[in-house]
């Protein structure tokens, strides 16, 4: 049952991410990316990480993608009319190198886990995904990175406002 749901979600994420990178119209790409992010969120719920799953929808699918859509609509991009490849065979090389990368990652996974794949005693523990657990770890062990990230966000906001001002 869980396996079926996982396979469906995996199929949906992989298909929609392939569709993201192959569309000519950027708005359709953005919409497929929203589908990808949504299926990721459901995968997180399947793993038991409820807090991060909901955050994925609030932050990624609900805020970052709205930002993307705003920019695409404000730029008023027409369909992708970019010419042929800058260098010959660029796409073929890209596919080839990515294939090498994928094979390397999968090989590293295989080698890293000595007993044929699964680490010993790898059982899903859904309790560690509850908000109280994550919050405890975040505010006690990771307080310093948390504060730094909040300053980072402030700097990003200021940077964006300064970058797009037309006149000082």
């Amino acid at each position: 049952m869980t396996l079926t749901i996982f396979l469906i979600l995996a199929l949906v994420s992989v298909l929609s991410s392939i569709l993201v990178i192959t569309q000519k119209n950027s708005v359709i790409s953005a919409l497929y990316l929203i589908v990808t992010l949504g299926s990721q969120a459901v995968l997180y719920f399947l793993l038991g990480a409820t807090f991060i799953g909901v955050l994925q929808i609030i932050v990624y699918a609900g805020a970052i993608m709205v930002l993307f859509l705003f920019v695409i609509m404000l730029l008023n991009l027409k369909r992708d009319e970019f010419g042929p490849d800058q260098k010959k065979g660029q796409r073929v090389l890209a596919f080839l190198f990515t294939l090498f990368l994928a094979v390397e990652i999968l090989a590293a996974l295989k080698i890293g886990f000595s007993d044929g794949g699964t680490p010993a005693g790898a059982v899903l523990n859904p309790a560690s995904g509850s908000p109280s657990e994550v919050a405890r770890s975040l505010f006690i062990d990771f307080l310093y990175p948390f504060e730094i990230v909040s300053i980072l966000l402030l700097v990003a906001i200021l940077g964006v406002v300064v970058l797009v001002k037309k006149r000082f």
Partner: protein
Amino acid sequence: MAAFILISSLKVLVVFSVFMLIVAYLSYVERRLVARFQTRIGPNRVGPAGLLQPIADAIKLLTKEEVFPANANRIMFVLAPILSLIPALLIMSVIPFGDSLTLFGQRIDLIISDLNVGILFVFAVTSLGVYGIVMAGWSSNSKYSLLGALRSSAQMISYEVSYGLSIIGVLMMAGTLNLMEIVKSQANFFDWYIFKQPLGFLIFSVCGIAETNRAPFDLPEAETELVAGYHTEYSSMKFGMFFMAEYAHMLNVSAIVTTLFLGGWQGPWLPPVVWFLLKVSVFLFGYIWLRATLPRFRYDQLMSFGWKFLLPLALLNIFATGIFMYL
């Protein structure tokens, strides 16, 4: 397993039917009340005291001609109202209506899904509601729609920040994100969070009204302003869906305010569901009263109110609650 599916389907069916009925009759109630506020009568001809007016409206909307603007993106044009309505309906799945019942030996909680992160789910679905508006405006291929959609979605995402921050005080006091637990922690009348978090209640209500694009924050869709904003080019049932989505969102915000601040379904003598509906109706009356009474904000006033006034106030609320709880 089978019992679970059966009970859940039954709950979904009941909640969905009651919800859609209330949404339909809310338009009638609003027209009557606004008319009364303006010393006229409102619709009273269609049935006994005008009670069949929503049915007449539905028939009218269903039989109108479908208009597709030229050069509009067909798929997105049709998808947008659906994307607007579905989040409004989804939120109802985590609102608790009452305590547990015990029917035929099965314990039934009067909530469709008791999520551990209930209130965060509400925010997640609310932020997805922006997409319907953005897509409606862009796919209509019309300047009025695009401007209205951009304004409306900018307003929604600005007020979402204070919307989320204002209830952190309640969450700190309740100690849980689970909506059923939050309601149960307000068992005493003086434990209701409206007394313990008055500022949070006010900020949340104001942001809720701004989120649903209702007066006095309805500049993006006001009739006298941008023609009709993002749903200018929509006709027939697609417009009907936008219309329903707005009332559904109103109902959702009222239900969440009731759950978080007014004690949910708690109350003496009457059954819990009746108390819940009573409290929701009080808040809905407040919504309609505001629409009839206050003039509309100008757009820059609206945005500066949201960012420069409500956001610092919500942060102050969290700070004050923290200090208060520590002492």
